[in-house]
């Protein structure tokens, strides 16, 4: 009897929830569900004392940092412990700045016809920064192989987005896309100081159309190459 009552109440709640959900589009309900899922997952990890957030400096001494350090980083232990693909810090030497042995992007060129098949544009799914499939992984593998065999090659990876999200957010998203490809190349053994990244967000579309096809073409990373003599 008690169990039946419990089932009845549960069913009523499910029906009410579905009715409330009908006020909104399926997209917004899905967004809420994902947000809730992530929230619960994080709280669950906190319960088992697995801190998900990166931690800030905790003491006054840490404000100064080591003399030789360029900046004061976050404590990385937590992040590194859970990252599937750990981020790779940018090269210390920025291209084109005074004293740098690597010139500015003007001296990097689009891949020559013989390299065009290798350094092909990589496309992404909407709002995603992960590589889509086997073909792209194979492409990155071949790129890494070529770069390891040609240690004088330096590349610029530029991340781009489609027009649908905002300008400012897309600048950050493009950064993530370019850095994902960079991390994969470094994992394959490419010298990290030979790979630079830049994000143009949605500022430089390759297709000026406003269709799903145009958006798919614009969600991309492109490569520029420089050979140091």
């Amino acid at each position: 009897m008690k169990r039946n009552l419990l089932y009845l109440i549960f069913s009523l709640f499910v029906i009410c929830y579905l009715c409330v959900g009908c006020h909104h589009s399926s997209g917004t309900v899905w967004e809420d569900t994902k947000t809730m899922g992530r929230y619960l997952q994080r709280k669950g990890k906190l319960f088992w004392r697995k801190d998900v957030d990166s931690r800030m400096i905790a003491a006054a001494d840490e404000f100064v940092g080591p003399v030789e350090a360029e900046f004061i980083p976050l404590k990385q232990e937590d992040l590194e412990a859970q990252l599937v693909s750990a981020a790779v810090p940018q090269p210390v030497e920025s291209p084109g700045v005074e004293g740098s042995s690597i010139p500015s992007i003007e001296y990097f060129s689009t891949p020559s016809p013989e390299l065009a098949a290798l350094f092909k544009t990589v496309h992404f799914n909407t709002d995603e920064h992960t590589v889509r499939g086997k073909g792209d992984y194979e492409l990155i593998d071949r790129m890494a192989h070529y770069m390891k065999k040609n240690p004088k090659i330096y590349i610029f990876i530029s991340g781009h987005c489609d027009e649908r999200a905002s300008e400012a957010y897309n600048l950050a998203l493009g950064t993530r896309r370019a850095n994902t490809i960079r991390s994969l190349l470094v994992k394959k053994g490419v010298n990290p100081s030979h790979i630079y990244t830049v994000s143009f967000g949605k500022e430089m579309p390759v297709d000026l159309g406003h269709t799903p096809d145009a958006w798919a073409k614009n969600r991309r990373v492109e490569f520029k190459i420089f050979k140091k003599e």
Partner: protein, 435 residues
């Protein structure tokens, strides 16, 4: 275990509770009781400018006669209290331009007092004619409200264009009404996101920041208003994006991928000496990007965007201070709408403007800290983003992001009417208002 079961049952309702009243529109201010100013002027350019300024300053309503005949009659009518009161005006402004000078007289229909407006020469060195006229509007506004107006302020923005198949972008400036536009930078590269120093100091005098792609990776540059090219400002590696300055001028927040992710960084700063110490990584989250930092006016908190919970939302994080033992954690601020981006804290600290996706389009929304409400300011089938505040905390400039064009718009929180202030070639975006 039983408690957990009930929490799980109720949780979707708790999460949804924020969305139920999304169609309710709440006015930020009470009924409009702005004083009405009748403007009489023989110079059409000055009259139009005064009319715009005194109608869009958020505190007065400017009016002018439709026909020349009526205008002629009223321009000669003496300042007689009963006559002007019967017309329903609160003030009468008579302005004229004569031999490159402008003069004005303000008559109060409430008290009968007549005030002379300072006469101004239109041919001042390094100052445009319109700028001088705007100063007159500002003086009138100050006389009526006892507060400094926005008419004399300037806006800064980036203009993107396609040149010989290559995208270029330079920094421009204009009067707050979008007129008198002129190009500031001649970098011949891709410059975006101008940022102004709120606090004046020996180092920051006559200078501003922007993001420049000249060398490939975007870097924050510093430049003088009278120089065509700037210099790299911060030596940190990687891409530097979306800089924001604290109101006290002692901290710069920016987004940087020095560690391989788009993270939030801060850099201590002194308006007299420049950079102080090293930049500091303030917040990072696996597989998430951070964007668009904005300081609270007291400099103790930063609002920024993160997509750590999948859809981008605005979070608040404490700015660390030396000796602080606590680890600051971001708190999600905006929950009512989705895809919340570009937060901008008002100079009075009571409001946060941001862009949110509502009904398929990004609209400007204001989070009111006093009432803890999220209020939609704009409507219409165009994306709007990058809001920035005027010093009076009642006006916002933002850019639209239509497929074919991107223009700047001015909105007054009282009226909630969008006024287009730019037009012509090039996409105008990333507006910033002079402090």
């Amino acid at each position: 275990m039983r408690n957990d079961f009930w929490i799980l049952i109720f949780l979707p309702f708790l999460l949804r509770a924020h969305d139920v009243d999304q169609n309710i529109v709440v006015n930020l201010t009470k009924q409009d009781t702005s004083p009405v100013i009748y403007i009489s002027c023989d110079c059409p350019e000055l009259r139009d400018l005064l009319l715009f300024d005194l109608s869009h300053n958020g505190v007065t309503k400017g009016m002018s006669q439709q026909t020349e005949e009526e205008a002629q009659i009223l321009s000669k009518t003496p300042f007689l209290l009963p006559f002007w009161q019967s017309k329903g005006y609160d003030y009468v402004l008579r302005a004229c331009a004569l031999d490159q000078w402008i003069f004005g007289t303000l008559f109060s229909c409430r008290t009968g007092k007549i005030r002379e407006i300072s006469s101004r020469c239109l041919e001042e060195e390094n100052v445009s004619k319109r700028c001088v006229m705007h100063k007159m509007s500002e003086e009138i506004e100050t006389l009526i409200t006892q507060k400094k107006g926005i008419s004399g302020s300037h806006i800064y923005y980036a203009v993107q264009s396609l040149e010989n198949g290559q995208w270029k972008s330079e920094i421009w400036t204009a009067d707050y009404d979008g007129k008198n536009a002129r190009q500031l930078t001649q970098e011949r590269s891709y410059c975006i996101h101008p940022t102004l120093f709120p606090a004046k100091g020996r180092f920051t005098k006559n200078k501003y920041l922007y993001v420049n792609y000249k060398l490939g990776q975007p870097k924050v540059y510093i430049n003088s208003f009278d120089m065509p090219k700037g210099n790299m400002f911060m030596p940190i590696r990687g891409s530097q994006l979306l800089p924001a300055l604290s109101y006290a001028g002692d901290m710069i927040a920016f987004i940087c991928d020095a560690q391989g992710r788009a993270d939030l960084f801060i850099q201590p700063f002194d308006p007299d000496r420049g950079l102080v110490g090293k930049p500091m990584q303030l917040y990072s989250f696996p597989h998430a990007v951070q964007a668009s930092p904005s300081f609270r006016p007291d400099g103790k908190k930063i609002a920024f965007v993160s997509d750590r919970d999948r859809t981008p939302r605005v979070y608040l994080i404490d700015v660390p201070t030396a000796g602080d033992q606590k680890s600051p954690r971001p708190i999600c601020l905006t929950r009512k709408y989705r895809e919340n981006i570009c937060p901008a804290w008002s100079p009075d600290g009571k409001k946060l403007a941001y862009s949110a996706k509502i009904g398929g389009f990004r609209q400007i929304v204001v989070y009111d800290f006093v009432n803890q409400e999220e209020i939609q300011l704009t409507w219409g089938a165009t994306h709007k983003e990058n809001p920035c505040w005027a010093s009076n905390s009642t006006h916002i400039i933002f850019n639209t992001a239509a497929p074919s064009s991107s223009e700047l718009f001015l909105i007054d929180l009282k009226k909630k009417e969008m006024v287009q202030i730019t037009s012509g070639p090039g996409r105008k975006h990333y507006p910033a208002w002079s402090p």
